[in-house]
């Protein structure tokens, strides 16, 4: 299976394209054919436009024939989570609210990928408005885990992870507010990177929780993550939280940064609720780092247990504000049977939003409402400071932190019907968003039931080059990603 074009990493395909062994049209056709064969079962896509993808591929081949190739991504089909705008394509957020919305402009990351010659391919499913950890909250359909179709792929970027694992794209983009890239990456045996808050522009990303959201890549290898990150980073004046910082050559850093590193193991991430098989797989990865000469040190992140509570105050507060724009007036669903303008707001929002989105808007409205703001929102922001300080203290002693990405491998569809149980899935990934740090999930094994396991490496702010080099030291010496699903 691994010899198929659609299962190869960007690094290998770029070399084949450059040597003119294959064309982008051939590669794109292989990805399209694969998608048409398996997506009926995987259900990773909300929509795709084969004619548009093939036209982009033909343009890439013409550039290359003329000696004007744009680099490693030129001609590579990349899937996009359906919360990131692509001109002229649907942008639904997997919500009835935006079922018929068509993007009038490109997100900055989309424009950057186009500038790099990538073939923009398909709209990938998610939990509605990126709220969830299983893709079961999509208003359209539930994406399946390619390794076991009865299990969830994780979420909210479940479509992005599943499509890549199933060979329906060569890489994908997702967004991560509390783990929405790293958690599905772990559950689907792919690499998922959430960059430092402010490194990647969010212009053209549908907002969920603005102090937490970041866009990032899903790839088959850490090297591919470096390639794709390079293409999407950079200051953007259209995102006022975009950070001005020097951008290194991430792919070159994989070779130049050699360690040995000091790696921290936080005891709070290895306690109650952690599946023994996940613990064992992550421990084996830690042992590998030790064999490379890395110093493994215990560190403490004492406020970890408050992360989920802080997150569900801050994220819901911000979402209740961000989603107030969906009022049935300028765009999105408008109720057909409203009596007046106020009734139109109430009914359009009632009909357009699904249950999880309503729950979060209600909770967010409550924690911000008069009389409760100090008790909930302000207190959560203060505890957020303590969580962030925990990480910064740890970085006085270590270069990076290793944890499991998720407490368990993929769970069965329908297994977590209770919202609180679902929220607790994100316990290991949430702290990274609250502290604004970069985090990457790297495949590190399989359960006895054949389900993927991921480890999370957490780096220092804006030091993605170091984080990727540390992750690559493990990833380039293991081949979990080559174990593709039987579909």
């Amino acid at each position: 299976m691994s010899s198929e074009l659609f299962n190869k990493p960007i690094s290998e395909l770029a070399a084949l394209l450059e040597a003119k062994t294959i064309t982008s049209v051939e590669l794109t056709q292989a990805v399209i054919a694969r998608t048409q064969t398996v997506d009926e079962r995987v259900k990773a896509f909300n929509s795709y436009d084969t004619a548009d993808a093939l036209a982009q591929a033909a343009a890439s081949d013409a550039r290359r024939a003329a000696g004007q190739s744009l680099g490693a991504l030129d001609g590579i089909p990349i899937g996009i989570k359906d919360v990131i705008a692509v001109t002229g394509q649907p942008l639904t957020a997997s919500s009835k609210m935006l079922a018929n919305f068509v993007s009038p402009y490109d997100a900055t990351v989309t424009q950057k990928l186009k500038n790099a010659g990538a073939v923009i391919w398909g709209r990938l499913n998610l939990d509605e408005f990126a709220m969830g950890s299983s893709t079961e909250n999509s208003a359209f359909h539930t994406t399946r885990n390619p390794y076991n179709l009865d299990c969830v792929p994780g979420g909210s970027s479940g479509g992005s992870a599943a499509a890549l694992a199933a060979g329906e794209a060569i890489a994908t983009l997702g967004s991560d507010t509390g783990g929405s890239i790293r958690q599905p990456a772990a559950l689907c045996n792919v690499v998922g990177l959430k960059p430092t808050y402010g490194l990647v522009s969010r212009f053209g990303l549908i907002a969920f929780a603005s102090s937490l959201d970041q866009i990032g890549p899903f790839t088959r290898t850490v090297e591919d993550a470096a390639i794709l990150l390079q293409a999407i980073v950079g200051h953007d004046e259209r995102d006022s939280t975009s950070f001005k910082t020097e951008i290194p050559d991430y792919r070159a850093a994989l070779k130049t940064k050699k360690g040995p590193w000091k790696l921290g193991i936080p005891k709070e991430y290895f306690g109650e609720g952690l599946d023994p098989e996940v613990a064992a797989a992550v421990q084996k990865a830690i042992d590998y780092y030790k064999s490379l000469g890395c110093e493994i040190r215990p560190v403490s992140l004492p406020h970890t247990e408050y992360g989920v509570g802080v997150y569900y105050i801050i994220a819901t507060a911000e979402c209740s504000s961000n989603l107030s724009r969906y009022d049935g007036i300028r765009y999105g669903h408008r109720s057909a049977d409203a009596n007046d303008i106020v009734d139109l707001y109430f009914k359009s929002r009632a009909e357009g939003f699904g249950p999880e989105v309503k729950r979060r808007i209600i909770l967010g409205t409550y924690v911000l409402s008069s009389g409760y703001y100090d008790a909930y929102y302000l207190r959560a922001q203060k505890v957020r400071t303590l969580i962030r300080q925990d990480f910064l203290n740890a970085y006085n002693e270590v270069d990076a932190i290793i944890t499991p990405t998720t407490p368990t491998p993929a769970f069965k569809r329908g297994a977590k019907a209770d919202p609180l149980a679902m929220y607790l899935c994100d316990v290991y990934t949430i702290g990274v968003n609250l502290a604004g740090l970069p985090g990457i999930s790297v495949p590190c094994g399989f359960s006895s039931g054949g389900l993927p396991i991921g480890m999370q490496l957490i780096g220092q702010p804006f030091k993605e080059a170091d984080l990727l080099a540390i992750a690559n030291a493990y990833d380039s010496a293991h081949d979990w990603a080559k174990r593709t699903p039987n579909l």
């Binding site: 007036i329 765009y331 409550y366 207190r379 922001q381 604004g436």
Partner: protein
């Protein structure tokens, strides 16, 4: 910090401008009480003298040059409007 029984679902749904069915009200009230009970844990943390964090890496005073730039065409801007006429969005009557 409040006790979860304080959650007046009608008041909150009204502030959020979402019409909820009686079934949704009952279900959400129970589920949100669960979540709020979990959140109560935050009361245990001593936050005396701790500054709140709104953004992990705050960027202050972002200025842009005051230069006119072309935006969306009228056609593009109205493309997703639920109802439109004569280059305008049609809305229900807002004055009595």
């Amino acid at each position: 910090m409040s006790v979860p029984e304080d959650l007046n679902i009608d008041r909150i749904a009204n502030l959020a401008r979402i019409a909820l069915t009686p079934e949704e009200k009952a279900k959400f009230s129970a589920q949100l009480a669960d979540v709020l009970t979990n959140i109560e844990k935050l009361k245990q943390v001593d936050v005396t003298g701790v500054e709140p964090t709104a953004h992990a890496f705050p960027v202050y005073n972002v200025w842009a040059e005051d230069v006119a730039q072309s935006g969306l065409s009228v056609e593009d801007a109205l493309r997703n409007a639920p109802a439109k006429r004569d280059n305008m969005i049609v809305v229900p009557k807002v004055v009595e």
